[in-house]
Amino acid sequence: MENKIEWANKMDEALARARSDNKPVLLDFFNPG
């Protein structure tokens, strides 16, 4: 089992995976601090 969230960092890549896997996208706008 994974021990962290496997974040993508590019929208086009995330949407391509979402269409391929038929899953919604969780988009997190974060402040690296």
Partner: protein
Amino acid sequence: MDAVTYPDARVISFVNENMIPLRVRFDAQPLATDFNVKWTPTIVTLDPEGKEHHRTVGFLAPEEFIPSLLLGIGKVYFDTDQFDAALANLEKLLSGYPKSHSAHEAIYLRGVSLYKKTDDPKPLKRAYEKLQENYPGSEWTKRAYPYRLL
């Protein structure tokens, strides 16, 4: 989120199994402007075409974050008239996280989804009754108030 919610094993498992996680800086352009981001964390649920269906702003602990994501997934399906899939996610939310803040909206949306699926208005009245019984002060109870007459 990085200290508490994202390292949580339940969150990791849920996100990796059910969603495509995408993380960008709050000032990343053009996304920050396109999504009108004003504060962090801003967390948005998108369909595979990139359309927004659900948003939260501010920290959520794991026991609120997972049901919020289930609500977002349910809204993706509800907004695209896929009511069986919407209902499956809403039922997961309501059975697993009945005390979460997202449960209020989920009860409302479950009633609407059942109505739109069947044309039977009884689920709308049941949604109001459930909300009134369990969350009498909720904004979703107020939104369902007219359904008491059905």
